[in-house]
């Protein structure tokens, strides 16, 4: 009797796990997949309640990044920086185009995911979850590593070496 019950519950668990696995696979497999790597952000200075997150996204079949959300901020928006005659402009955009097979890197001076109404400061060395929404691929969650207050890349505080060509990114 005991053994039978054990068997039953084991079977039930197996079915549940299998079902979940199928469900999980079904979502991204339905459309083109995207690969999200090198998610990073800068630590926030002082009492600042805004921040920016950067990621590298590759969509093998082409896609669009259309939104983002994170539990650490009240709002997350897609923004683009441009520099015209020495004047820096920041604009919210509806989407970041992801040409097929091309790695698109969001970085200072170009596109960024603006984090507004941060619930707590972003601290170097910590990480937070970020959910990205794609037009075709649906949602993808990634882990954002927080670098130094002036980090210029996913390497965290080491990145200053790269400043030469990162160049405060005015090419927007």
């Amino acid at each position: 009797m005991q053994f039978r019950r054990f068997l039953f519950s084991g079977l039930a668990a197996l079915i549940a796990v299998g079902g979940a696995a199928v469900a999980q696979q079904a979502q991204p497999a339905a459309a083109a997949k995207v690969e999200v790597t090198q998610a990073w952000a800068r630590a926030t200075p002082g009492k600042s309640t805004i921040g920016a997150a950067y990621v590298t996204v590759t969509a093998p079949a082409g896609d669009k990044l259309i939104g983002a959300s994170t539990p650490v901020a009240g709002k997350a928006q897609l923004h683009q920086h441009t520099m015209e005659n020495g004047v820096m402009k920041m604009r919210q955009v509806d989407a970041v185009p992801l040409p097929a097979g091309q790695a698109v890197t969001l970085s200072p001076g170009g596109y960024h995911i603006m984090l507004m109404d941060l619930k707590a400061p972003l601290v170097a060395g910590q990480s937070f979850p970020l959910t990205l929404t794609f037009e075709k691929a649906g949602t993808v969650e990634t882990k954002v590593m927080v670098g130094g207050v002036g980090a210029s890349g996913p390497g965290g505080t080491m990145a200053p070496m790269d400043m030469g060509h990162m160049n405060m990114g005015s090419k927007g």
Binding site: A43, P45, G46, H79, M88, G109, H112, V149, G150
Partner: protein, 200 residues
């Protein structure tokens, strides 16, 4: 002399008078233009602002004898301003003893949101010697004018606003004269090299 003649002379005198007034006006305008043109090349001048860290009023005279490294930005700027301030701090790190001759200032162009309380600790997060300055709208506008800084609110969809603004670092000599400026194209090594060559 006939009446008609008198009238003619009177007319001539009036015409000459008008001409003279015209010449004077035109000359005045040209002079004004000239003056205006020469003053547009001048960057920097007296300012009165508030040190966000201490709450004290400061002026350009407060930093007399030092090289002023001035960046105008705002704390709700997630990307360009931190990059500029970080580059400036990396450059300062390379100056050794000469760092003491520098007064790096971060002046907000968004006094509505960047109160002294909001600004406090912001600039120092990048380097302990960068001073955050705010002030009344009038004080900020005056400083922007003196430094030919462009700053304008750009409304966002959610009812807030971003700032469009000149993003350069001005280098003023200890006498308060503009010497050069660094842009987003200038990397910290180049900044440091220039500052080393300028400082005695």
């Amino acid at each position: 002399m006939s009446r008609a003649n008198n009238f003619q002379i009177g007319g001539l005198v009036a015409l000459a008078g008008l001409l003279l007034v015209g010449i004077l006006l035109a000359g005045g305008l040209v002079w004004d233009r000239y003056q205006g043109a020469s003053s547009t090349t001048k960057i920097g001048g007296p300012f009165e602002l508030v040190d966000a860290q201490t709450g004290q009023t400061v002026t350009d005279q407060s930093y007399k004898g030092k090289w002023l490294l001035i960046y105008f930005g705002y704390t709700h700027c997630p990307d360009a301003c931190p990059t500029a301030l970080n580059d400036l701090s990396l450059a300062l790190d390379k100056l050794g003893d000469k760092r003491r001759e520098m007064a790096p200032l971060f002046i907000t162009i968004d006094p509505d949101r960047d109160t002294a309380d909001v600004m406090k600790d912001y600039a120092a997060s990048f380097a302990p010697d960068i001073v955050g300055l705010t002030g009344s709208a009038e004080q900020i506008t005056k400083a922007e004018k003196e430094f030919r800084v462009y700053a304008a609110k750009h409304p966002t969809k959610d009812g807030g606003y971003d700032m469009d603004h000149s993003s350069v670092i001005y280098v003023m000599d200890p006498a308060g004269h503009f010497v050069t400026n660094f842009t987003h194209e200038t990397d910290p090594d180049q900044m440091a090299a220039k500052l080393m060559s300028l400082a005695s």
